[in-house]
Amino acid sequence: MTAGLWQHWVLPGIWVTIQLTVYSAALAAAVAFGIGLARTHRSRLVRFLAAAYTEIFRGTSALVLMFWLFFVLPPLAGWQLVPMWAAVLALGLSYGAYGAEIVRGALNAVPPAQREAGIALSLTPWQRTRLVLLPQAVPEMIPPFCNLLVELLKGTALVSLLGVGDVSFAAYLVRLATQDSAEIYTITLVIYFVLAFAITRGMKALERRTKANLGVAK
């Protein structure tokens, strides 16, 4: 593959993939914490709505959701999402639903005595969650969130079907230009593998730091 193809397609493609992963991960994390906390809320209605959200978004395919947001939302809402943001929204909302289960699981895994201690100290429910439960739950969330982030990175490849210029779409264009599928698709797979490896290493370092900062035993 020539240097020109690398410079014009593959490297910008890698950059778009990284951007997509970061934006979707930020949205997914916000949704995960919002819905995950809502699933442990006292109100039955809030818990029901949060559970409905997770079941709906975990039940459907991220690709179908992406197509729905891109093709169906414009006639309904009257405005068109650019493919990039339709993709970020679909990935963030979908993976956020998976993340919400991680948050819920980690919060439920904190020993009940910790919650009771918070009540004994007359902390409000939000203070209990923020000061007692979350600091203990967050280190437990990091390994499953790492897996989710790798899944999200892989999920960004779907955007190539909407024509967003990520690394998969770049591979498609380079294949058309060079007629050599084996080389470009092998390179693309290796790029994803390296990015996933970087995420795993980064998250491991974050886990060590978080546990050290919070004084959690290794």
């Binding site: 975990r58 395919s61 179908v64 599928s181």
Partner: protein, 216 residues
């Protein structure tokens, strides 16, 4: 909002064809991933690291790279190597291969969870290796494995729309074709989205019930 019920009815014949193709992909993909996963899992336990290391590397590579790119790899590269398959066969192979790396981890965990005493009992009874595996270890491992495998079948179902990328006529591709011919994407895409929820939600309830029943 203009919701047109006639567009829904017009889409139905295509939709059922798509459902059949999706179920076909799911059944064959599951068969490949369950069988190949067991092969990987047994290879993880090979006595020599010259087998274990490459198998670990290959499965890790397949697991951490996108199914869509693997699909394109198989679809465009295999013909260059003289292996020509239909889009449907390529899709089934890609899904089966991709998910075999996940099911391998499930088998591995299930086999590791069988108490050590069971291996020792099989050795004490001088059972040959195949009897140890098929009469002692695997029947006990299956109880723990079944629910996790069920979850992967549901994940596989949600990944079948990726096959639209190589023009397999599953549900999403049928809705794209319906939309392209009538310029009405709203109804076909919504029907497909709802269909996924209607299939996946009861399936996940079934897997949870299975988990409660089998894993104690």
């Amino acid at each position: 909002m203009n919701w047109d019920w006639s567009a829904v009815w017009d889409f139905m014949p295509r939709f059922w064809d798509g459902v059949l193709t999706t179920l076909q992909v799911l059944a064959l993909g599951s068969l490949i991933s369950f069988s190949l996963g067991l092969v990987w899992a047994l290879a993880f336990r090979a006595p020599t690291r010259f087998v274990r290391w490459p198998v670990n590397l290959i499965t890790e590579f397949i697991r951490t790279t996108p199914l869509l790119v693997q699909l394109f790899f198989l679809f465009f590269v295999l013909p260059e190597w003289g292996l020509k398959f239909s889009a449907l066969t390529t899709g089934v192979l890609a899904i089966g291969l991709h998910y075999s790396t996940y099911t391998a981890q499930v088998y591995r965990a299930g086999i590791d969870a069988v108490p050590k005493g069971q291996w020792e009992a099989a050795t004490a009874l001088s059972l040959p290796a195949h009897r140890t595996w098929f009469a002692v270890i695997l029947p006990q491992a299956v109880r723990r494995i079944a629910p996790a495998l069920g979850n992967y079948v549901i994940s596989m179902l949600k990944d079948t729309p990726l096959l639209a990328g190589i023009s397999v006529l599953e549900m999403l591709q049928q809705s794209r074709l319906a939309g392209a011919s009538t310029f009405q994407y709203t109804e076909p895409l919504t029907v497909v989205g709802v269909a996924f929820i209607l299939i996946a939600y009861p399936a996940s309830l079934f897997v949870r019930a299975l988990e409660r029943r089998l894993v104690r």
